[in-house]
């Protein structure tokens, strides 16, 4: 157990942002902290990183209570990436990462070689000697990741690691996180569900300062899977096909039917039967199906369901 959190609470004046949450992270796991904006994700991560002292509750890291202020000098290593990291703008990227590594206890040579390796890994090798003041938003995010990784932390806390990146950058960082999964324990917060689905094996959902769902991704998917079929016709399909799509509403296995132009979402009572019937009919009548999806709701729907309930 790399970290154990017990009844963690944080109040800001009258408002309670985090309301007595408890959880633990297993070594080597990758957990996504999911929730809408204002759910308390960032506050939780900041408390875990030791930048904010909890109003009550305890954080135990490797068997040691952490919540007694920031006096720990010998604690196990944390890598932390804030949502909008800010750096010393007058340093170069390389200088900052070396500085960060040395403050985490590395020798000069070690820090230098590790910094070079990690900057290459995040794709900043060519910009490493430039001043940070000239970096773009995406480059700063990568530099933030580099400084969080350079000292090989045993716990990596990432606050919205990809939300500031363009699609290409996002892709690269997600791949990097996939690689890191085996090496260290990761806790990342996001409100983009797809990201969580992609890299994490555990999901914690927060809403208004409370953890409303916590478990293995596969378990949660099974728990929240819905007998839903979704169909989509090709864009310019014949009247014939459209009529057939409409006629599905009358079938005995349909519980709920929703149609938006050429697409239909159907909740059924018997998934097996419904799938067999629809697919065979579609084949028979040469219906130009563009998409057919059966079964489990994606994390997206589950997220909406958990968050709204």
């Amino acid at each position: 157990m790399i970290i154990q959190v017990n009844q963690l609470t944080r109040k800001f004046g009258e408002r309670t942002t985090v309301k007595g949450i408890s959880f633990s992270l297993v070594k080597g796991s990758c957990t996504a902290l999911l929730g809408p904006n204002g759910a308390g994700k960032t506050t939780t991560l900041r408390m875990l990183a030791g930048l904010l002292s909890p109003s009550s509750g305890t954080i135990t890291r490797s068997g040691r209570d952490q919540s007694k202020g920031r006096l720990s000098n010998n604690h196990s290593q944390i890598g932390y990436l804030p949502q909008h990291p800010s750096f010393y703008k007058w340093m170069s990227g390389m200088e900052f990462v070396v500085y960060a590594a040395r403050l985490s206890g590395m020798s000069k040579q070690e820090a230098r070689s590790e910094a070079e390796a990690v900057l290459e890994r995040v794709g900043l090798k060519s910009a490493a000697r430039r001043r940070i003041s000239g970096y773009s938003g995406g480059m700063k995010q990568r530099l933030g990741l580099a400084q969080a990784l350079v000292h090989h932390p045993d716990l990596l806390l990432l606050d919205e690691p990809v939300s500031a990146l363009d699609p290409v950058g996002r892709r690269e960082v997600m791949e990097l996180l996939q690689e890191l999964k085996g090496e260290t324990t990761i806790l990342l917060s996001t409100h983009v569900l797809h990201d969580a689905e992609e890299v994490c094996d555990r999901v914690m959902m927060m809403r208004e300062g409370e953890i409303v769902e916590n478990g293995e991704l596969s378990d949660l998917l099974a728990k929240y899977s819905l007998p839903v079929l979704s169909l989509q016709l090709e864009y310019h399909s014949s009247q014939n096909a459209a009529d057939w799509l409409k006629s599905l509403r009358e079938r005995p296995f349909v519980l709920e039917y929703e149609q938006q132009s050429g697409a239909a979402t159907i909740t059924v009572s018997n998934m097996k039967e419904a799938r067999a019937v629809i697919l065979s009919e579609a084949a028979e009548r040469h219906i130009p199906l563009q998409r057919f999806e059966a079964g489990s709701s994606s994390l997206e729907k589950m997220f909406m369901k958990v968050v709204q309930s």
Partner: protein, 259 residues
Amino acid sequence: MRNTLLLYGKEMLEMSRSYKLLWVPVVFILLGVMQPVMMYYLPELLAASGDIPAELASTLAVPSAPEVMAQVLNQYNTIGILLVVIAGMNLVAGERYSGTAALILVRRVSPTQFIVAKWLGHITLIAISYALSYLAAWYYSSIMLGSLAWETTLQAGVIYLCWILLAASIILLFSTVLKGGAAALASILLLVVLTMTHSLLPSWFSWSPARLAVDAMSLLSGTGSVNLAGPLLLTVLAVLLCVVGASYIMRNQVIQDQP
């Protein structure tokens, strides 16, 4: 210790890259040199303006070198202290509110190391600036206005240094608690209160650190009694209190991680 040195190295590098290591000494030197030069040329300037009655002009004598050095210290006491405070007002506040402190404090860095390094950096800057400025004032006074007893001049300079380092420590403490501008204002107020209470009720506040400034001046001009033990002890304690207090406060502070 290792971390403190690393952090201190970063402070010095930052000050040199932002040219703080240049402009603070330059302003200080100008401040110190201005007084002897002004005093030396003042009678000539007044005479040249022509509106001064001859009787008055004859009473205007060029002051002696020790007197001018005491006036230099008086200059430091107003503009010099202001400079020390302004140069240091974002010492901790800047990093705490911009979010750069967050990335440092999640590492194996204790708030005490962070504060001590900040303090050492500011002390270095101020001590260098002050020393250069004082030496420059000394040099100009001695070549323009006559010789100075080097022993008393050095003594007075060192005593005054203690007072100015106290100001540098006070701004560190306030910069930890408040944002830049408010920190500067609070420090100035505290320093004014220290000076005022001492000058209004000198017998009650004979141990006040503000006494150091007064004593340094009277040492130079050779008037008044000099009693250093009490004020020096209290100043050292106050400096320690500032550093320890700032570390203690930072330990329980909310560290913002974004601007």
